[in-house]
Amino acid sequence: MEKQDKLIIGGHSFDSRFILGSGKYDLELIRAAIEQAQAQIITLALRRANTNSKENIMDYIPKGVTLLPNTSGARNAEEAIRIAHLAREMGCGDFIKIEVIRDSKYLLPDNAQTILATERLAKEGFIVLPYMYPDLNVARDLANAGAAAIMPLGAPIGSNKGLCTKEFIQILVDEIDLPIIVDAGIGRPSQACEAMEMGVDAVMANTAIATAGSITAMAAAFKSAIEAGRSAYLSGFGRVLEKGGSASSPLTGFLRE
């Protein structure tokens, strides 16, 4: 059964529902983190990959792992599009995660510019995963613009605060026919598990792992939590009684037929 539970993004199929970030930690640990996480998709900031130095992140990512370059550093749609082109030229493939941020304090995404960039890049054949603030109307616009998945934030990037936007992410899960991947703000495996229990299709995490005492152990913990949350979601939750239990005499007893 579980073998058939695939995550499909832009026609590509994945067994893992854990998207791992590659920022903020030692390049030497990336391979081990990927192994422990059993991740099949890894994000990388193009601005970090765009380097001449010996320490090029691209050299540390094992073959066979799908690269998801992001457009961090872009302040508007135009800049995101240029970074996406650069990523393609550098051989990062067709996947692109759109990040448009024009706020240096909270690093919150600019939804309007994200829609514009998504539309252009989807037309150019990119598999576009837009990072966004969870707003249903925007998610619909992104879907119409050709997004391959929607990546709503749980909390501000790096805040490790968990699912602050839970109710709104649930609406996206219920209403949008694309994979919903929670990105940003997930600080603990339990929060990742909670997101998966809600029916989210995948979870992306970086800071929580990058800043853990043991990067590899935390990567493994996230993997288990994400799998547990997915299994729980698929198995269907049991009935949870409201406070006070069920009414003993039926409210519909007055009906004559």
Partner: protein
């Protein structure tokens, strides 16, 4: 000696200096710093400031006050966790490149000042390229181009040519030169520059006036509004600093933070960076010594910056010892210079053509600094930037 009666009004703009008539950030900062009495804060205020998640001027003032000194360990712990949250384990490395040390200003504390009898030099474009080649070989990808503040010897065109050359060898180019007008910043942005650093030195305009005897640097408000003009010229990031020790360092540190805070509120996309220089001894002036601001006070300032603006970069200067620098990276600082020489032409030849701006305390190479970063469990990052 300078006759004080001939000194110009330091608050009046000179001809050709652009005035941002629609901005009042300087007035706001000066008013806020005037109201700051650091003796009024108590241990209770410091505890409250530490407990808060988002800190405003009041909390920042408490953290900079003498009452916060006994809480330095707590400040350091909180600062480290904020640094980790916002920057992970990454520490950026860069180096400054001095291309000219001519200066038209008489600033009493600076080795480059026009009255100081030092060897002057200005690198031509070939010499600049040689310097850049040498630096590039060390693996660095971020460079900060500096000049003395002379519009005659290092005009905007000259700086622009140096920056275009820098784009060939480096991913990220910043400048620390004299303040200029918006359109000049826009020109340098086209040449590849994305970061502008201007030290206000001191935010006390009366003290400023006594230290900057002559030259265009004397004009306090023109310097103050440099970062705002740079952002309007299209620059991505701006850096701020007071030269700690010139005046009351607590007030100057508060003003530096307030300046950056108000500018970021007005230009939310702006990337903000702080430097924390202390006074250093210079050639021909043995009386200058950073005695007022000890390492403890410097760390208090750095952690207060981190707690006030957790997302801002903090650069740690080679003015400080290797031991101090190694301990503050990841704790509060996120950027460190390496392979530094403040003389002119000393990267590509053994003997410099021009003298140094100040004495440095940490002369380790790029490789040595990178190893020191790794030894602390952190990751040296040569580039985290794309010019678009």
């Amino acid at each position: 000696m300078t006759n004080t009666t001939t000194k110009t009004d330091h608050m009046v703009y000179l001809k050709d200096m652009e005035v941002l008539s629609d901005s009042n950030i300087m007035e706001q900062v000066l008013e806020a710093v005037q109201c700051y009495d650091d003796t009024l804060y108590t241990a209770e205020d410091v505890k409250n400031a530490l407990a808060k998640e988002n800190r405003g001027f009041k909390e920042f003032q408490a953290l900079l006050s003498p009452a916060a000194e006994p809480f330095l360990e707590e400040m350091a712990q909180k600062a480290q966790s904020e640094t980790l949250k916002h920057f992970g384990n990454s520490i950026s490395i860069f180096t400054p490149l001095y291309i000219s040390n001519y200066c038209e200003n008489h600033c009493v504390y600076c080795g480059f000042n026009c009255r100081n009898a030092i060897r002057r030099a200005k690198l031509d474009i070939n010499a600049i390229e040689q310097e850049m080649q040498s630096i590039s070989k060390t693996g660095l990808e971020e460079i900060l181009i500096l000049t003395g503040e002379s519009r005659i010897h290092s005009d905007v065109k000259y700086i622009g040519e140096a920056c275009k050359m820098a784009k060939k060898y480096f991913k990220m180019v910043g400048i620390e030169v004299y303040p200029m007008n918006t359109e000049e910043y826009a020109y340098l942005h086209q040449c590849g520059v994305d970061y502008v650093t201007v030290f206000q030195e001191t935010y006390n305009s009366d003290k400023y006036e006594t230290l900057h005897i002559s030259g265009h640097k004397r004009i306090f408000p023109y310097r103050f509004y440099a970062q705002e003009r740079a952002l309007r010229g299209g620059m991505r990031g701006v850096a701020f600093a007071a030269l700690l020790g010139l005046h009351d360092f607590r007030k100057d540190a508060f003003a530096t933070g307030a300046h950056a805070y108000l500018l970021q509120r007005k230009y939310p996309h702006a990337e903000i960076s702080f430097s924390c220089p202390r006074l250093r001894p210079i050639i021909n002036n043995g009386t200058i010594h950073p005695k007022d601001v000890g390492e403890k006070q410097l760390l208090q300032v750095m952690t207060a910056y981190r707690l006030f603006m957790p997302f801002a970069n903090i650069t740690i200067s080679t003015r400080e010892s290797a031991v101090f620098r190694d301990h503050v990276i990841g704790l509060a600082a996120t950027k460190i210079s390496a392979g530094v020489s403040t003389g002119i032409g000393s990267h590509s030849s053994e003997k410099s053509q021009g003298d140094d701006q100040f004495e440095i305390a940490d002369n380790r190479s790029v490789e040595e600094v990178a190893e020191a970063i790794k030894a602390r469990g952190l990751q040296p990052v040569m580039n985290d930037y794309v010019y678009i």
